[in-house]
Amino acid sequence: MAAAPSPADVASPGSFTTIIGLEVHVQLQTATKLFCGCPTTFGAPPNTQVCPTCLGLPGSLPVMNRHAFDLAVRAALALECTIAPFTKWDRKNYFYPDLPKGYQISQFDLPFSSDGFLEVVDPKGAFSRRVGIIRVHLEEDAGKSMHDEAAGTADSRIDLNRAGTPLCEIVTQPDLRSPQEARAWLNELKLLLVYLGVSDCNMQEGSLRVDANVNLHIPRPDGSVAKTPIVEIKNMNSFRSVERALAYEAARQWEEWQATGRELGSAPKQTRGWDDPAGVTRGQRHKEESSDYRYFPEPDLVPVRVSADDLARARAAMGVPPAGLRHMLAERWSISAYDADVLVNQGRDLVAYFEELAGLVGEGKVASNWMQQDVLRTLNERGGTIDAFPVRPPALADIIGRIAAGDFDTSRGREIFAEVLASGRTVADVVSSLGIAAVDDDALDVLCRELVAANPKIVADVQGGKEQAAAGLIGQAKKKNPNVNPGKVRAKCLEIIRGL
């Protein structure tokens, strides 16, 4: 065992690398459970979505839900994993009040997939990390224990609705190097899985759960590296919590290492729970740490074979993943990587909206600006999904097209956008009811001559070299006719003044 470090051995504060690996459980988006026909609907009254199989009644048998398996294969393929042609089920034996059979059907030594990766790239260039996936396997969920400690009764109640729900467990290599990276990677994973239609990844409903393993690598002056004991963090209820918990834990391990010098291998892996309100991790008294799951092959299920056809079908169902879509959008519509990132991160439906809009407008950058500045902002304010957004791409393209044609300016366009959104009327309808009509060149010429004649001071300023003084004319022109195009007014006025 390493002796406590002398002060000279201790590296300067902050000069360590945080090593992070994640274990993510994702609930698959199936109508029914993994081994029986019970529905998986969230929020049903307790113990109403159960049958002999998921209750673990004597004599009941599991039958695999092939759709769940196919979804899991789709996810694993998107994570660049190798899919095993032959995979089996194992029993993970442990006792828990909400585990009705006394074992969980899972996969032990022959998971259906392994050895993949998922890359996360910070759009602002802060980091780019390719995170290895050790394995992805399928298993059934347990039930839920609800501890009712009201009125000092300390009753525990069991809801088995969730028992048997299909879960995909994704285990990464310890490839992440900061809490920020971990959070960004989780966002990318969630985005991917939602894109694939594999999971809704709703953390509030327990569709996505994360445990994190973290320790520090601390370089010593002699070139060797001290490694702190690995800690597993549980109970993190949001990606923000994951980031905070990891940051807290890294700091805590740094302090602990400075105080004790304890290194990896000197103690068994510790499990700590994240206390979100307090913002700290706390050591858990965890019997499972030394638990022995006595895995053995599940005799009630037959091994699963995955054919080339199965793989082809899974690939066909995958669609373009977010990373590919970002490149595609940037290239096809000549928008920046940052813009493509913002759009793709909003989900497949928003991308479809954007592509329809950009196609109609015939130009990506303008469409992207409208998406980000107007559509997304409005969506954020109003809530709801892009599918139900009242201004459909043809209407928005109509507005953008009229702006480009010089019918009105962008701020006028925004007013029309807001009115179409509020009223549900057509763009043409709104344009005419607001009295917006294109101002023809003759009318513009007359208006500008009147303004030049009425503003000798501005004319003098412009003639004196202060062209920006013309702005005063634009304001007056808009008052006289709100439909005028400011750019045209400016150009016309300057032309008149020069000709004086």
């Binding site: 009941s60 039958v63 006595r294 053995f296």
Partner: protein
Amino acid sequence: MPSDPLQLSAVEIVAAVRSGDLTATACTEAFLDRIARTNGTLNAFLCVDREGALARAADIDARRRAGRPLGPLAGLPVGVKDALCTADLPTTCASKMLAGYRPPYDAEVVARLRRADAVIVGKTNMDEFAMGGSNENSAFGPVANPWDTSRAPGGSSGGSAACVAADMAPVAIGSDTGGSIRQPAGLCGITGLKPTYGRVSRRGLVAFASSLDQIGPMARSAADCALTLEAIAGHDPGDSTSLTDAVPDYSRMLDKPLTGLRIGRVPEHFAAGLDPEVARGVEEAFAVFRELGATVHDVRLPHAHHGIPTYYLIAPCEASSNLARYDGAHYGYRAEPGGGHRAEPGGGHRAADGRDADATAAFESPLVEMYCRSRAEGFGPEVKRRIMLGTYALSAGYYDAYYAKALRVRRLIRQDYLDAFESVDLIGGPVSATAAFPLGEKTGDPLAMYLVDMYTVTANLAGVGGISFPCGFTAGGLPIGFQLQGPALAESLLLNATDRFQSLTDWHRRRPPLAV
């Protein structure tokens, strides 16, 4: 045709009910009366459903009178081993743990029996959770062998075997994990078939060792077994391990001549330990088969002698997991709080200072106490022994030495059968080393009890089918059993060969001189 339904075969009963010569009601009443007279002596039934059976019979009679179609087992009384779930009757597995437990669904086999219009007369006694070879591990008392009520009927389907032997039902359903149909059939002088693994759905069979369990018919003859198997066999989408192969018409193939049939004889079966009277009976059976046109050849099953240790690793390992669900919380037996703790020594929950006065103090919480005591009080000693054996063998550090090695030997045993069936069509031999043994003789010696399965476990490990039937009697008047084993899905041939044997012999027609 004799007028007494008790003397009719299942085939005859079904025909008589169909033709109207016998009503299902009269038939059912006759067997129920027989049960009422004999069950006090034999304890073969744990529960008798007089009312339900008569209602069912009346319905069948009414449908027949109305000219409506009847199922293939119409009016046939059947006893069902208490390991199969029945929605209208308790299902206890002969365990205190499940005393009074009523499942919310019928086992697939029970549902098929009902669809075939069989009349389920009751649930038969067994070794607790099917663990045992004498029926003495029942929490509700042992079954007596009808041929000598001081002797064991064998197990674990001892109630099913005894009820058929004593004419309490013409047919019973058993389950066989290591010999639990064939051995009691042999000791009770009836015919019992363990089909190929997966031939009959296990859904609703309370699991003992899932990779070995198989349900099968027990009756007086191969013909009656064939009739029953036709009704219960076949693919069940609710059992992933159930085979999709079509179910042959077993009954039609019974009388095929055995000319040219090659029967293997394993010399090791006749080594030390085999009772000479049994050995003689078995050799005489080979002679009968020769007379029927079959030829007998020596074959080797080189790893068969590893069968018992292999079985007693794999079966307890699976059992330790299958029985983890009985925790007293959801269903079944629950220990009331505050009672004296009765865990076996070494159970790990005894108070450190050995005081029992405050039993609860030895537990982490009242909940944990409930769990521990429910299992300590609900399971019998043999069940606990196997749970502990299995838990130990699966534990980290032992898995490779025990469970993983047992799986490898299991593959060798399976290969032995594949190799043997290259040169023979069936393998014949004894079912058990002795005829029925006295009650109590082996209860103090678990290892001796385990050895009663030595000729039968290998078929379960290999997943192949086997049938046992009477081939003679000892001087003391006890039946001697003969076993035939076949390749996968050879049920037709097993039933055919047994039927031909029974066409030349009348051992299967003998009835125990049961005093009631």
